[in-house]
């Protein structure tokens, strides 16, 4: 792969705000729609009697949703420019679909929140921004769409921006993490081409804006966490005594020679080598999948965590977390789950539910259960301690999923609080 940077984007908006159209337009403008796909769109648009190209057809994939005409799940779409690879998670905007946005946002760095210029900031917008804030997205683009339907009026744009800025006040975002862009996804205004119809807007087009974002700026910088995924023991002649610990590095760099502590045993050693395939490196950056060897023979198995000895995380058997329920089986006090924290699994019991959180920044209420799409604060008791950071400090080491012990479904996602 050429050295293009990778930017992952989640879209959010209410039904019909134009998410699918926007994504189709981005594909079209970056020449990512191939002739056969474009022909299919032309044909279907004509069949349906449209006098324009319905770009939403590029992404609305499944038969069921073609029949209903709505997006029902998270779909991933890919396009690239000269310098950047983009992955877009198209997440639907129904009230009950908090789950989908949380899922799409969990693998993305940037959120694009669509607003229909005619409707302005509505209750849904609050929720979308609330979730962007909960997941600590690196950047939020507020795309004010359908400007063609409000005569490209600057006042409409300014009013919406003002309303949205009131929300930003209630969030943890800094103002430079939020960008407002007036667009028409249908007409292609300010998507890849600067709009002549909105000369009052002096900022970047959406695509230019997405291109100047740097992955490093969108990522938390914190402490190095290396959960061991797989123990590599070749037992071949050439690598007789080789014992490598394979995993993915999160949060910070690790170097050969670093003093490390292995959790849960709290044994210590030094990094002897950092390898990737048949190459050795002196230092690895966050987001690397590497294999580490240690100076000493230490007993390490999958699920253990390697950290710098000066930067040991919290180790607790009781934790508090914000939970988003992603399955229709409700979470209740006393229930037991398998808790998967990275690649490590322990048993967890719901001790208490502190509150159900209103997803529009309006506060909390008492509740004895969390249903699908609910977000709430929950206290757990674990069978063994886990070694964690707050989600706001280290996303990978501060998040977990809950697995139902009967169906094995993933029923919740948790963001650890300290």
């Amino acid at each position: 792969m050429e050295n293009r940077k990778l930017i992952k984007i989640a879209t959010a908006g209410s039904v019909d705000d134009g998410k699918s159209t926007l994504i189709g337009r981005l594909l079209y403008d970056t020449k990512s729609l191939t002739t056969d796909k474009l022909e299919a769109i032309e044909k279907t648009s004509k069949q349906r009697g449209f006098d324009y190209l319905d770009f939403s057809l590029a992404t609305d994939g499944l038969v069921a949703e073609r029949e209903q005409g709505i997006t029902i799940d998270v779909a991933h779409i890919y396009f690239n420019t000269e310098k950047t690879n983009f992955i877009v998670a198209d997440t639907p905007g129904h009230v009950e679909y908090t789950r989908n946005m949380v899922t799409g946002a969990s693998t993305s760095q940037v959120a694009i929140i669509l607003i229909d210029a005619r409707k302005g900031v509505i209750e849904q917008t609050n929720r979308h921004f609330f979730i962007s804030n909960l997941l600590r997205m690196g950047h939020v683009v507020v795309a004010i769409n359908k400007m063609d339907l409000v005569d490209y009026d600057e006042d409409v744009f300014l009013k919406i921006r003002e309303d949205f800025e009131a929300l930003v006040e209630k969030s943890d975002f800094k103002s430079e993490q939020i960008t407002f862009i007036p667009i028409s996804a249908l007409k292609g205004e300010n998507i890849a081409k600067k709009s002549d119809l909105m000369p009052w807007y002096v900022g970047n087009t959406l695509l230019d804006h997405l291109e100047v974002l740097e992955p490093e700026d969108l990522q938390q910088s914190s402490l190095a966490r290396f959960p061991v995924q797989y123990v590599v023991r070749p037992k071949t002649e050439a690598f007789h005594d080789f014992r490598g610990f394979a995993g993915k590095l999160y949060g910070g760099n690790l170097k050969v020679g670093d003093d490390v502590t292995i959790l849960p045993s709290f044994t210590t050693s030094k990094i002897k080598s950092i390898q990737f395939f048949d190459q050795e490196y002196s230092e690895a950056t966050p987001g690397s999948s590497i294999t580490i060897t240690l100076e000493d023979e230490v007993n390490i198995s999958r699920g253990d965590m390697l950290v710098k000895s000066s930067e040991v995380p919290h180790s607790e058997k009781s934790i508090s977390a914000t939970i988003c329920q992603v399955n229709n089986k409700p979470l209740r006090v006393g229930q037991k789950y398998t808790l998967q924290h990275g690649v490590n699994r322990v048993l967890a019991k719901v001790e208490s539910i502190s509150s159900k959180v209103h997803t529009d920044f309006s506060g909390e209420e008492a509740s004895d259960q969390l249903g699908l799409n609910d977000i709430g604060k929950v206290n757990f008791r674990l069978s063994k301690p886990i070694h964690f950071d707050a989600y706001t400090v280290n996303k990978a080491n501060g998040s977990f999923i809950l697995i139902d012990e009967g169906s094995y479904d993933t029923v919740s996602v948790g963001f650890i609080e300290i």
Partner: protein
């Protein structure tokens, strides 16, 4: 000496997934078609477990209508890397009367593969089948999970998929279920080609432009040989062509091309205007074709 490792994010993701498969399942298998995507998977698996050998076997469901170049290539790769290869034949499923050979103009063994695959899964009790499908190939694939749970009948229920959060993969399954795993879900066709080029990965010769006996039908280029149904009036010509996928001969169309090197191929893909699956005849049957096949356990 400072020697900083700067990772390729898509490669990292795939390696992470492959390690999770090896750790979470008892009997994983890599579905190997001999195509560029499965060859890329083999390279990624090699990297994921190095210096250990790849800790699972390859399974090839042979339709009997493969390009001979692909089979030759497969055997060479397996020998070189010391891999374990299992082959199961669609012909056997036909002989056992489990499936019936299609007839006529669009006859293909592509859909018959499903039965042979499900039988092999049962025979070996595989609990995870690693495949090279990518979400950019087709709209229905765009919603596929990385770990996609299938029931005993290999069926996919797109309305009832487990959400996948961050990079945490939940591979817990019930008795009788198995999981299809797609480590290169997030790669595009161009990503794969660029990777093959930077990594200098060997691929079968039919991916490069070569002279071949072909005929034209429905605006597509078909291989002229005994496995492919041809009407008398459909004239055979010799053309410079190459293949963009190497499925079954009966459902893999060629494209006119002069690209004889990897460099040429990458440039051609960059400039290309026909999507990869546009060259797969089986998808053209209907817009919802892929989704229907997935529901009955197709890769």
């Amino acid at each position: 000496m400072s020697n900083l490792f700067i990772p390729n994010p898509k490669e990292v993701e795939s390696i992470h997934i492959l390690r999770e498969v090896a750790a979470q399942f008892e009997k994983p298998v890599l579905l190997f078609s001999g195509g560029k995507d499965s060859i890329t998977l083999v390279r990624l698996a090699q990297k994921a477990f190095y210096p250990s050998r790849i800790p699972f076997p390859l399974l090839h469901i042979d339709t009997g209508h493969n390009f001979p170049e692909t089979i030759e290539f497969r055997d060479q790769l397996v020998a070189e890397l010391g891999l374990e290869l299992i082959v199961r034949n669609v012909q056997d499923s036909i002989d056992q009367g489990k499936v019936t050979e299609e007839r006529g103009r669009y006859a293909s063994r592509n859909t018959l593969q499903t039965t042979t695959l499900l039988d092999a899964i049962e025979e070996f009790k595989f609990d995870a089948c690693i495949g090279g499908a990518r979400r950019d190939e087709e709209k229905a694939r765009a919603k596929e999970r990385v770990f996609s749970v299938r029931d005993d009948f290999g069926q996919w229920d797109e309305k009832n998929q487990r959400p996948e959060l961050f990079d945490m993969l939940n591979g817990q399954i019930e008795q009788g279920q198995n999981v299809r795993v797609f480590p290169i879900s997030n790669w595009t066709e161009l990503d794969v080609w660029e990777y093959i080029k930077t990594e200098n990965i060997q691929i079968p010769s039919i991916y490069f432009a070569h002279k071949r006996e072909v005929f034209f039908r429905d605006g597509m280029i078909w291989t002229a040989n005994e496995h492919v149904f041809r009407e008398e009036h459909e004239q055979v010509e010799e053309k410079m062509v190459r293949f963009r996928t190497v499925g079954d001969m009966t459902c893999t169309a060629a494209v006119l091309s002069e690209a004889t090197s990897l460099e040429d191929v990458v440039n051609e893909i960059r400039a290309s205007t026909i999507s990869e699956r546009g060259a797969r005849i089986d998808d053209k049957r209907s817009e919802a074709a892929m989704e229907k096949r997935k529901k009955v356990g197709y890769f």
